[in-house]
C-alpha cells in the first residue's frame, strides 16, 4: 500500500520505536528487571492481506490483548502472541518459574496490563509527537484460534475498503524468556487523512 511515503513510513517506525522504548522502561520498572524490545518491523496492509498474513505467520492458537482507540485516528489495536508463549511471558513478568497448563483469570489480567502498557505508549507517543490527541478504552485479553482473529479484531464488520492494517512485529526478551509478538493497529481509513496530515506537518518542520 503506497498510502505513505518513505519518509512518512520512517517517521511512523521511529515513533513506534519511541513508544516501544518507553513501554520497555515502564515494564522494566514494574518487573524490576531489564526488558528488551527489538526494532519494530512495520507493514501497512489491506484487510485481505492481513487475513492472509495472520493465517500464514501466526500460530494456530493465540493469546492477546486488544484495545479500542479514538481521536485523530480511530480503530482497534491488538498485541498478539502464540498462546503458550504468552504464559511464559506472564510468568517471567511475575517472576514465576512454573509452567501452568492453562492461562488463568489472573494471568489474563496480567497479560492485559502488559498489552495495555505497550499499546498505550505506542498510541500516546504517536499522538503526542504529532501534536494530536488519542483516547484509549480499557484493554481486553483473549485466547482464540487464528481463524477467529479477524472476527475478534473486527475485520469483517468494518468496511474492508476503508480499513487499513498497520502490522508491527516486535521481539521481546524478558529475564530468560524471549518471544516474538505482533502489534496490529486496525485503522479506520476515514480517519487516515488526519493521520497523513499530521505526519506531513511533522515532516514539513524537519525537511
Amino acid at each position: 500500500m503506497d498510502l505513505f511515503s518513505a519518509d512518512e513510513h520512517d517517521l511512523i517506525v521511529e515513533l513506534m520505536n519511541m513508544g516501544v522504548g518507553r513501554a520497555a522502561h515502564a515494564l522494566s520498572q514494574l518487573v524490576n528487571d531489564e526488558v528488551l524490545l527489538s526494532v519494530p518491523r512495520l507493514e501497512f496492509i489491506s484487510v485481505p492481506e492481513a487475513q492472509q498474513a495472520f493465517r500464514k505467520d501466526l500460530p494456530p492458537f493465540l493469546a492477546g490483548v486488544m484495545q479500542d482507540f479514538e481521536g485523530f485516528i480511530n480503530g482497534r489495536a491488538a498485541l498478539l502472541f502464540p498462546e503458550a508463549r504468552s504464559l511464559e511471558l506472564v510468568n517471567a513478568m511475575i517472576g514465576e518459574d512454573l509452567s501452568a497448563d492453562e492461562i488463568t483469570e489472573l494471568e489474563h489480567e496480567t497479560l492485559a496490563e502488559l498489552g495495555n502498557i505497550l499499546l498505550n505508549h505506542c498510541l500516546a507517543t504517536l499522538a503526542n509527537q504529532l501534536k494530536q490527541q488519542v483516547q484509549t478504552d480499557i484493554p481486553q485479553a483473549f485466547s482464540i484460534s487464528a481463524d477467529e482473529l479477524p472476527g475478534t479484531l473486527n475485520l469483517y464488520q468494518s468496511d474492508s475498503e476503508n480499513t487499513l492494517v498497520m502490522l508491527v512485529q516486535i521481539d521481546f526478551s524478558l529475564r530468560n524468556s524471549a518471544l516474538r509478538g505482533y502489534l496490529a493497529f486496525i485503522i479506520d481509513l476515514r480517519s487516515a487523512d488526519a493521520f497523513v496530515t499530521a505526519l506531513r506537518a511533522y515532516l514539513a518542520e524537519l525537511l
Binding site: 518487573v31 512454573l98 496480567t110 484509549t136 480499557i138
Partner: protein
C-alpha cells in the same frame, strides 16, 4: 423476527431510559468511582464506601491520593493521571501490583482482611469523566494460589524423586525434602527425625535450617517417656499438632530451647514405611503460633511419604551392600570389606604415623569336627567362634572371615607389639574354650600369625602374606599359639 427484535429493542431502551443509573451503580458488587478531568471523585458507589469505611460525602471532590496521602503506589497514581488527563484506558492487574487501594473485606467469620483487587480505568467517550472500577478478586487469588501451590509441590516432588532414583546420598535427599517444605511454608524450619533400631529414641537426621545445636540437643527423644508433639505423632500414627508451644504443657522442658530457636508451633507428621511401620517423624516448627491449613496438611503428608520412600530405598541399598560385604554364615565382614578396611587403615596409619596389627587366624582341628559331627555342627561352631572373637575387639577393629576356617583380625591401632600379642592371647583362649551344642561338646584351637605395620610390611599384600606365613610358623610350632612374622 426482525419485528420482534425491533420491538424488544425499543422496549429495552424505554426501560433503560426510565432506570435510575445511580441506583444501578450502587447495587453493583464491585467498586465504581467517577472522576473528573482533575482526578476528583464526583461519584462513588455504596460498595466503595463499604470497603473503605469512608462516607460518600467525605470522598466527593477529593482525589484518591488526597484521601490516602502517601499510601497509594506510584503506578496507580500514574494510571489515574493518564486516565483522567490523557484519556488513556488502563488496567492494573493484581499480579503486578499486589497493593493498590487500601481496601478491606470481611471474611465469613467476620474478620477484616486486605482485599485483593484489580483496577480498571476507563475514560468515557463523549464526556470528560473517567470510570474507575475496582474488582474484588480475592477468590480468584485463592484459586490461583491453590493451583500454583499444587504445581509447585508436583515439581518439587519430581526433584526429590529424581534424587532418590539417581541414588543420591540419603542426607541430601532428606535435606531437599526439608528445603522443599520450607519453600512452601515460609518461616517454618523443618526437621526429619528417625527412630533408632530399638524403636525407642527419635534422632534428628536432617534439619538444614536449624542450628547445629538443635541437631545435637540430646541423645534423642524417648518415645515412651517424653510426651511431645513428635512422640505423639509416632504413637498415634497421625499428624500431631501443637498450635502454640507456649500453651502446651508437654513442651515445658523444651520451652526455653523453643524460644531460643523461635519455634512457636510444632506440627509432626509420622513417616510410615512399608508394613505400616512408623520409622520417623517429619516435624515443622512455624515461627508464629497456628495450626496447618488444608494445603499445609496435604504437603506434610506428601513430604513424609517421600521421606518414607527415600528411607526404604536407602535401607534396601544398605541391605544389598551389607550382603555383598559380609559372610552370610557368621555375619562377619568378608574379604572384600576387609580389603576396604585394610586399605583405609593403611592410608590412615601412613598419614598419622600409627602402628597397627594384622592377624591371620586358622582353626586347628576344624576338619575333624566337620567329619565327625557333620557340616551343620561345623557351621554352628564357626558362628559361635566368630562372635566370641568380635567380643574381644574394639568397635573400630575388624574381624573378617575370609575362607572356610580362616579369619583375619585387624587391630586398627596398636601402641606396641605387646598390646597386639595380648589380644592374640585373648583370642586363643576364647577360641579354645569348648562350645556346647545340644549334647555335644565341640572343641578346637587356633594358630595365629601376626604382622605389624610398618615393621613387617607397608602394603596390604605384604602384611597379609606376612601374617599368613607367620600363621604357618605357629602351626609348625605345635598349634594353639601365635607367632610374630620376622
Amino acid at each position: 423476527m426482525q419485528n420482534f427484535s425491533e420491538q424488544s429493542g425499543s422496549c429495552l431502551s424505554n426501560i433503560l431510559d426510565n432506570l435510575d443509573c445511580t441506583d444501578l451503580l450502587h447495587s453493583l458488587d464491585g467498586g465504581v468511582l467517577l472522576l473528573d478531568a482533575q482526578c476528583r471523585i464526583i461519584f462513588c458507589n455504596r460498595w466503595f464506601s463499604r470497603h473503605t469505611g469512608l462516607k460518600e460525602a467525605s470522598m466527593l471532590g477529593k482525589t484518591l491520593p488526597e484521601l490516602y496521602p502517601e499510601q497509594l503506589p506510584l503506578p496507580l497514581q500514574d494510571a489515574l493521571e493518564t486516565g483522567c488527563r490523557q484519556r488513556m484506558g488502563r488496567i492494573l492487574s493484581y499480579q503486578l501490583h499486589k497493593r493498590l487501594l487500601p481496601l478491606q473485606r470481611r471474611t465469613p467469620r467476620g474478620e477484616l482482611q486486605p482485599l485483593h483487587q484489580s483496577i480498571l480505568i476507563k475514560p468515557l467517550s463523549q464526556s470528560e469523566l473517567t470510570l474507575v472500577q475496582c474488582l474484588d478478586i480475592t477468590n480468584a487469588v485463592k484459586r490461583e494460589q491453590h493451583l500454583r501451590a499444587g504445581e509447585r509441590i508436583l515439581k518439587l516432588e519430581r526433584t526429590v524423586l529424581e534424587l532418590i532414583a539417581t541414588g543420591d546420598a540419603l542426607d541430601n535427599v532428606l535435606n531437599e525434602i526439608c528445603n522443599t517444605v520450607e519453600q512452601l511454608i515460609p518461616h517454618a524450619p523443618s526437621a526429619i527425625m528417625l527412630l533408632d533400631d530399638e524403636r525407642e529414641l527419635l534422632h534428628i537426621k536432617s534439619a538444614p535450617s536449624l542450628p547445629s545445636a538443635f541437631m545435637q540437643r540430646e541423645p534423642g527423644l524417648n518415645i515412651n517417656t517424653a510426651a511431645t508433639t513428635c512422640t505423639r505423632a509416632v504413637q498415634t500414627r497421625a499428624l500431631a499438632i501443637t498450635a502454640d508451644i507456649h500453651q502446651d504443657d508437654s513442651w515445658q522442658p523444651r520451652r526455653e530451647m523453643a524460644q531460643r530457636l523461635q519455634m512457636a508451633a510444632c506440627w509432626a507428621q509420622p513417616i510410615i514405611a512399608a508394613f505400616d511401620e512408623v520409622i520417623g517423624v517429619f516435624a515443622c516448627y512455624p515461627q508464629t503460633p497456628h495450626s496447618p491449613n488444608e494445603f499445609e496438611r496435604q504437603l506434610l503428608q506428601r513430604m513424609a511419604h517421600l521421606a518414607a520412600i527415600a528411607m526404604e530405598r536407602h535401607r534396601r541399598v544398605e541391605r544389598i551392600r551389607f550382603l555383598a560385604m559380609h559372610d552370610p554364615l557368621t555375619g562377619l565382614p568378608n574379604r572384600s570389606l576387609l580389603n576396604e578396611h585394610l586399605g583405609r587403615n593403611l592410608r590412615r596409619a601412613h598419614r598419622e604415623g600409627n602402628q597397627f596389627a594384622l592377624m591371620f587366624i586358622d582353626l586347628d582341628g576344624f576338619k575333624q569336627i566337620n567329619d565327625q559331627h557333620g557340616h551343620d555342627a561345623g557351621d554352628d561352631l564357626l558362628s559361635v567362634l566368630g562372635s566370641r572373637m568380635t567380643e574381644q575387639l574394639r568397635g573400630t577393629d575388624t574381624c573378617a572371615r575370609i575362607g572356610g576356617d580362616e579369619f583375619v583380625v585387624m587391630l586398627e591401632t596398636v601402641h606396641s607389639v605387646d598390646s597386639a600379642t595380648q589380644v592374640a592371647e585373648k583370642i586363643l583362649s576364647c577360641l579354645s574354650a569348648p562350645v556346647q551344642r545340644g549334647q555335644q561338646q565341640l572343641k578346637v584351637s587356633a594358630s595365629i600369625g601376626i604382622a605389624i605395620y610398618p615393621d613387617d610390611g607397608t602394603s596390604a599384600d605384604a602384611l597379609l602374606t606376612g601374617a599368613d606365613d607367620a600363621m604357618y610358623q605357629a602351626k609348625a610350632k605345635g598349634k594353639n599359639c601365635w607367632y610374630r612374622f620376622n
